[in-house]
């Protein structure tokens, strides 16, 4: 993908997240909107479709999919306001109705391009479980003073600015962001050097097989971290 398109996507995702927060959507539908957006542009050219229209529609669809339904009217108004901060709010009139119609039509277009596959596995629940699992290993004071979970969630939110979510499994991204958060704070999981297995690996011989991954390798973790770092470099380029 050319750098220009990457920059556009970065800006649209920021727009999705900003409008999503204003619509009082929680992190899951906002993340789903980003996945829908990236999936659509993996198969369609950015020159053929208005990325902000696709972003707006993705946000609207994600609300329906994740059972946090928002009214089409509110989506149109808030996205318009987010995109045109210097213009007055949208009046009910021709522009409003045609914008509304555009979102409704592109919803069908995007659904078709997703082949109606509307079940997405997101890293959120994995991050939650892994953090709960790790918390018990840490000194309670350290855990309370060093914002490991906060940083992990921030990395997770930011990772959607690129299309990483399509390239890795949800549970791998979850471990990647926690791993990176630990690195950033210079923290180590206590006793991990004495353990036979890394904290993010799963011992197949030992039940329960509920948390942490059995097919994640260190290079994948490193790729996830490097992708994240590329995104943060991109942020500077996008702003300049």
């Amino acid at each position: 993908m050319d750098t220009n398109a990457v920059k556009v996507h970065f800006r649209v995702i920021r727009f999705i997240q900003e409008a999503g927060l204003k619509l009082r959507l929680t992190s899951l539908p906002i993340a789903t909107a980003a996945v829908i957006y990236h999936k659509f542009f993996r198969e369609n050219k950015i020159t053929d479709f208005d990325p902000y229209l696709v972003g707006t529609t993705a946000l609207y669809m994600a609300g329906k999919i994740e059972e946090e339904v928002v009214k089409l009217r509110d989506v149109v108004n808030i996205c318009h306001r987010t995109l045109h901060k210097n213009k007055p709010p949208l009046d009910i009139g021709e522009t409003f109705w045609s914008l509304r119609e555009s979102v409704a039509s592109s919803e069908l277009l995007i659904l078709r391009s997703l082949r109606f596959k509307v079940v997405f596995s997101q890293p959120h629940k994995f991050v939650l479980h892994y953090l709960k699992f790790l918390k018990d290993w840490f000194d309670p004071h350290d855990w309370d003073t060093i914002p490991i979970s906060k940083t992990s969630w921030a990395f997770l939110r930011d990772c959607y600015h690129g299309d990483m979510c399509l390239n890795y499994k949800a549970e791998h991204i979850a471990i990647g962001v926690i791993y990176f958060a630990l690195l950033s704070h210079g923290m180590e999981v206590p006793y991990h050097n004495e353990a036979d297995m890394k904290w993010w690996q799963e011992n197949p011989n030992q039940p329960p097989k509920m948390v942490l991954s059995d097919d994640l390798t260190l290079p994948t973790v490193q790729n996830i971290i490097s992708d994240l770092m590329t995104l943060y470099e991109m942020e500077i380029l996008v702003q300049s």
Binding site: Y60, K64, I65, E67, V69, K71, L72, V103, A104, E107, L108, L109, L111, R112, S113, R115, F116, K117, V118, V119
Partner: protein, 370 residues
């Protein structure tokens, strides 16, 4: 035709196949929650499928959320006793439909639905057959509840049975995920769900925080129907339905159901007082099996928190005492005609209510329990 219209009509957009090019409609077999259902044949593979039309008329909020929920839920659930969604197709957009395609959900085809089978007097279910039907029904229901999904439209017409005797729960048009929390606490849902005759007392009384027990009530009504051959409580209005439930299951009082008095509609509806619980007594003339009566009684508990769940039901003696559940394909092989409720003569719909004691059955098909 304007050039723009011509472009739209001729535009080839991939990913979603044209329904009428791929499938040949054969007959209409039903009316779903949000559209018509057709039997159709794949022109190439000759496979028979069911096509459900997604109604989009007057849809101001884009693609209907009910259809999206159904698609999402069926993609999430893959189980022998849940109907399988094959794909989604569309019709050609053109001037005749104001350039809006119609969408179709394509399902695997099942030969019969339970309401159709029950309305045919020539179809006889033995005790072993009934056990197999209920076992599969509860298995499917256990699976969807385990996945945190409520069906919300249990009724005999939504229970499909293939000619090989495999039961499939169908019509997830009202289904949704449950157990969600919002900032304000447990998520509330609409209580205007479930066909009236199968609607549990908590929904009739306005409960908005409900769970899997609502589907178990419906399963209980269906189970009784396996013997009575017609829905056991055919109310005309919510009020009438509450009256019928009270007459069968006893008065809805705080004694048997702590907290019932706090439900929104408890004071607004007339809740009969002083009625005794007569589930076993009234069903005994039809259901001679003691284990069946006991399970029915537990599925039709008025207090949802005390109503039996699917897992416990499946462990009930009913399924483990002789005769063991049979293979339904043997019984169904005697019938080579598809049986759907839609095609069957109406089963005493809108019957004028009368409160009479259950009469002992005189022949294979009865009026109602009371």
């Amino acid at each position: 035709m304007t050039t723009q219209a011509k472009i739209v009509e001729e535009l080839e957009f991939p990913y979603c196949e044209n329904a009428s090019e791929k499938y040949e409609k054969l007959t209409k077999i039903g009316q779903g929650t949000f559209g018509e259902v057709f039997k159709a044949r794949d022109r190439k593979t000759k496979r028979i499928v069911a096509m459900k039309k997604v109604l989009m008329e007057n849809e101001k909020e884009g693609f209907p959320i009910t259809a999206l929920r159904e698609i999402r839920i069926l993609q999430l659930l893959s189980h022998e006793n849940v109907v399988k969604l094959i794909e989604i197709c569309r019709s050609r957009a053109g001037a005749y439909n104001r350039f809006k395609s119609t969408f179709y959900l394509i399902f695997e085809f099942c030969e019969h639905d339970l309401a159709g089978l029950l309305s045919n007097v020539n179809v006889k279910f033995t005790l072993a057959d009934i056990k197999r039907v209920m076992q599969q029904l509860l298995n499917g229901l256990y699976f969807i509840h385990h996945n945190k999904i409520l069906h919300r439209d249990m009724k005999a017409a939504n229970v499909l049975i293939t000619k090989n005797g495999i039961l499939k729960l169908a019509d997830f048009g009202l289904a949704r995920a449950y157990g969600g929390m919002t900032q304000k606490g447990a998520q509330k849902y609409t209580n205007r769900v479930v066909t009236l005759w199968y609607r549990p007392p908590e929904l009739l009384l306005g409960e908005r925080v409900y769970g899997p027990a609502i589907d178990v009530w419906g399963a209980g009504c269906i189970m009784a129907e396996m013997w009575t051959r017609s829905p056991i409580m055919q109310g005309n209005t919510e009020q009438h339905q509450i009256t019928l439930i009270s007459h069968l299951c006893g008065s809805l009082t705080p004694d048997v159901w702590p907290g019932v008095e706090k439900l929104d509609l408890y004071d607004k509806l007339e809740v009969p007082k002083g009625q005794k619980r007569l589930v076993k007594e009234r069903l005994k003339p039809y259901v001679r099996d003691q284990f069946a009566l006991d399970l029915l009684d537990k599925m039709l508990y008025v207090d949802p928190s005390k109503r039996i769940d699917c897992d416990t039901s499946l462990n009930h003696d009913f399924f483990w005492e002789d005769p063991a559940p049979s293979d339904l394909s043997v019984m169904l092989s005697r019938h080579n005609q598809s049986m759907f409720e839609y095609l069957a003569p109406p089963r005493r719909r809108g019957h004028i209510p009368q409160q009479q004691q259950a009469r002992p059955p005189t022949d294979q098909h009865f009026e109602r329990v009371f």
